[in-house]
Symmetry: C2
Subunit: 450 residues, 2 copies
């Protein structure tokens, strides 16, 4: 299919990873990328740190600009081009350029890589000025402009997931009075509550006021600008509101084209990133994936996954054969000095799956106890009863704590047991770890519970 | 065998891990530990940091004192008790207490955990004052006392392994003029020379003068104190010399008792830590082990291995069934701001084994490029040709770089291929990693070379 024309809808992680891979494999292939914003290939994950003032130049977030792709990769990237409908029977996309102009472009192969957007319930005044979600770089720049011009003094973050927490920290750094509203008993619902509690405390320690077990019900506005966040229990006056209630896949193109949807409304794909419709592929935050531990469909919007799926799609679109095997649910974040990481399945998932499991939680130090900078780390580990098969782990601790989650992510992928984990030949020197790495200390405790 | 008497020779990592494990399993078991120094259960690995002045109180290096073991664990620990010969036919050990007193003690089961000592060639004046190796805590305290009383201005470190490098840094921190003599073309012979070169440079950057490809030939002395180190190419005047040429197992007890020796003269043990002689066991730095990748015997003296072997021996000695599966050769160290790690097999080992391999080396950043503190990391990865089976990795980089070696150590243990490594769901957020973790970036490059 080297003569075919590939059209890619969306120019961020998945789309441009695919485009770059295709170009490397097929120097002459006709590749058209349509991106509705002005930017390509940027780190959306970096926006909270830009907004928190950790660096000043937003262009640092851009890995490769549209010009770079055009000039160095010979890829026809068209920004401010929004695809409206896809017509699979005629293999054609309709594109809106600017406000009015509409054109059509044919494709032989189409890759949908349209990403995700912040979830927001349909509640009063959700469209008021000063309410922001973060997804595209453009959306981050809008927050930046709002903060520069309006100089808000207070902010309410709604939702205590990764983006919510990172934005809470960013706003504290910028001197705002920050509150956070969270539906569940602790922030970071991807952790079990006993571990989430440590993260809630970390937020309080940096000065964030938490309103837990409260639900967003409305916004109040004056002259079109948000003035308060209304929860199920109170009204919180605010100059700025950030939506951190997770994201939903931008799957409208697929829906309209009768492409099958999967987990949480994301586009269903096979391991080669093919959708249910011939010659249409999907990758990144708009697509579903599979959990390697359960074999079940799952929707997790993360840059790592988007990049990997993009490469897999690009490989297959350029005549190779690659498969994306799925995820184990690894994630990491940081609230000032506190690092948080998780992988695998958490207790509520295990209960839903009716898996018989045991847990163990230990407190240790990140380095040898006598080494300067040694600080607390808490590791919770989960394994199947009887078999001892690892099912997951969660880590909260100071600098150096979180990246250890990768040991468990690797062990989970290999199907290791908790006994296998104890036997691992992990690195040790006093500046890096106690002689038993904390994940092995957790495993040693857990093995007695199985 | 709950009525049997267990005698353990050596009261550091392996010996006391075993003793503690037995006590937990068998509260009434008769356990006698004989330790020739005054200390038990200390972190020998921490001595360079104590000597470098990172903390002042050497007692912080002691995890548990003899008194703690006696009072809280009800273990009969006798310090300054040196076992001279073992008599396997009569199941008896002969013990020297102090200078003259000699007694005998019977055993039913004997665990030899006598550790290792610094290697030193037989050369002129090797017994002069001011020449030190580091193995026991007592030896570390002798260096400390020498430095406090003699106030040396210059030091020569002989050997560029972990201890040599850590001591070089420690002595630089204490304001000494430090040289390092190393036989091979780069320091850190457990790395391939292309990676070792980065570590040599890190040493030069902190002010250590390197004399590479030079061999130790003699010491010079005056009035019994060292005055110079003589190499194959020059004479280096010095106030202090540190032996960092590796260690050799304290296997004399085993040799005299006709117990079989294995790799590099260490005591041969099976996976349950039994020696060739009935009722005699060995664990820790005096014992050999097996490399999980080659299945071949190997001798690696490290605290992590000693602790694990001690627990395995203790489990088996208290009626359980545990096995030590071997090692993959993981190690980590730090020279000021530069972190160094390795696991698996290095090129010279692979050539000796006649394994057909490929390598790839990449330079990346430890964090997202725009994130403050992002710094260089170099990853070299090695895999078998055709099959793609992972064989090893080496990492040199700034803070946050080295612990990533554990991902590869885990993957090696699981028998993963370089393709499997690319698919791993590793943690990513801008403060922790680029979106492709550097070990995956190395794997992506390596996969093209296979």
């Amino acid at each position: 299919m080297s003569e075919d024309r590939i059209v890619i809808v969306g120019g961020d992680a998945a789309g441009m990873s695919a485009a770059s891979k295709i170009r490397r494999e097929q120097p002459k292939r006709d590749i058209l990328v349509l991106e509705r914003t002005a930017f390509t290939s940027y780190s959306a994950c970096g926006m909270p740190y830009f907004l928190g003032g950790l660096f000043d130049d937003f262009e640092k977030l851009i890995a490769r600009s549209p010009e770079t792709f055009r000039e160095e990769y010979d890829i026809d990237v068209r920004t401010r081009h929004e695809v409206i409908p896809v017509d699979p029977s005629n293999q054609r996309v309709t594109i809106r350029m600017g406000r009015d102009k509409v054109i059509q472009e044919p494709y032989d192969q189409l890759l949908i890589a349209t990403g995700a957007r912040p979830s927001c319930p349909e509640i009063p005044n959700a469209d008021a000025a000063g309410i922001f979600g973060l997804s595209t770089l453009a959306s981050g720049l809008r927050v930046h402009e709002f903060m520069s011009t309006k100089k808000p003094k207070s902010a309410v973050v709604v939702g205590g997931g990764y983006i919510g927490l990172e934005m809470a920290e960013a706003l504290v750094r910028q001197g705002l009075d920050v509150s956070l509203v969270q539906r569940s008993p602790e922030v970071m619902g991807t952790l079990d509550p006993d571990m989430g509690k440590l993260v809630s405390q970390a937020l309080r320690d940096i000065g964030v006021t938490l309103y837990l077990e409260e639900q967003l019900e409305a916004f109040e506005e004056k002259d079109g600008a948000v003035t308060a966040v209304v929860t199920s229990r109170r009204t919180l006056p605010t100059d700025l509101a950030i939506l951190g209630m997770g994201v939903q896949p931008n799957a409208e193109l697929a829906t309209k084209a009768d492409i099958r949807l999967g987990a949480k409304g994301a586009i269903e794909v096979d391991s080669r990133m093919r959708t249910s419709t011939e010659n249409i592929w999907a990758a990144g935050d708009c697509a579903a994936t599979v959990h390697r531990l359960t074999g079940q469909p799952v929707y997790i919007a993360l840059g790592t996954i988007a990049n990997k799926q993009g490469v897999v799609a690009g490989t297959n679109l350029s005549g190779g054969d690659a498969r994306f095997p799925g995820v184990v649910g690894t994630a990491v974040s940081k609230i000032c000095d506190v690092e948080v990481a998780r992988t695998g399945l958490q207790e509520k998932e295990l209960r839903n799956l009716d898996i018989n499991y045991s847990t163990a939680t230990i407190k240790a130090k990140t380095r040898a106890g006598y080494f300067p900078g040694a600080g607390p780390i808490t590791v919770k580990m989960i394994a199947e009863r009887i078999s001892g098969r690892l099912l997951g782990a969660q880590i909260v601790g100071v600098e150096g704590a979180a990246k250890r989650i990768d040991i468990v992510a690797t062990a989970l992928t290999a199907g290791m047991t908790v006994m296998d984990l104890i036997d691992l030949d992990l690195s040790y020197a006093p500046p890096f770890s106690p002689v038993w790495d904390p994940v092995q200390t957790a495993a040693r405790k857990l093995v007695k519970e199985i």
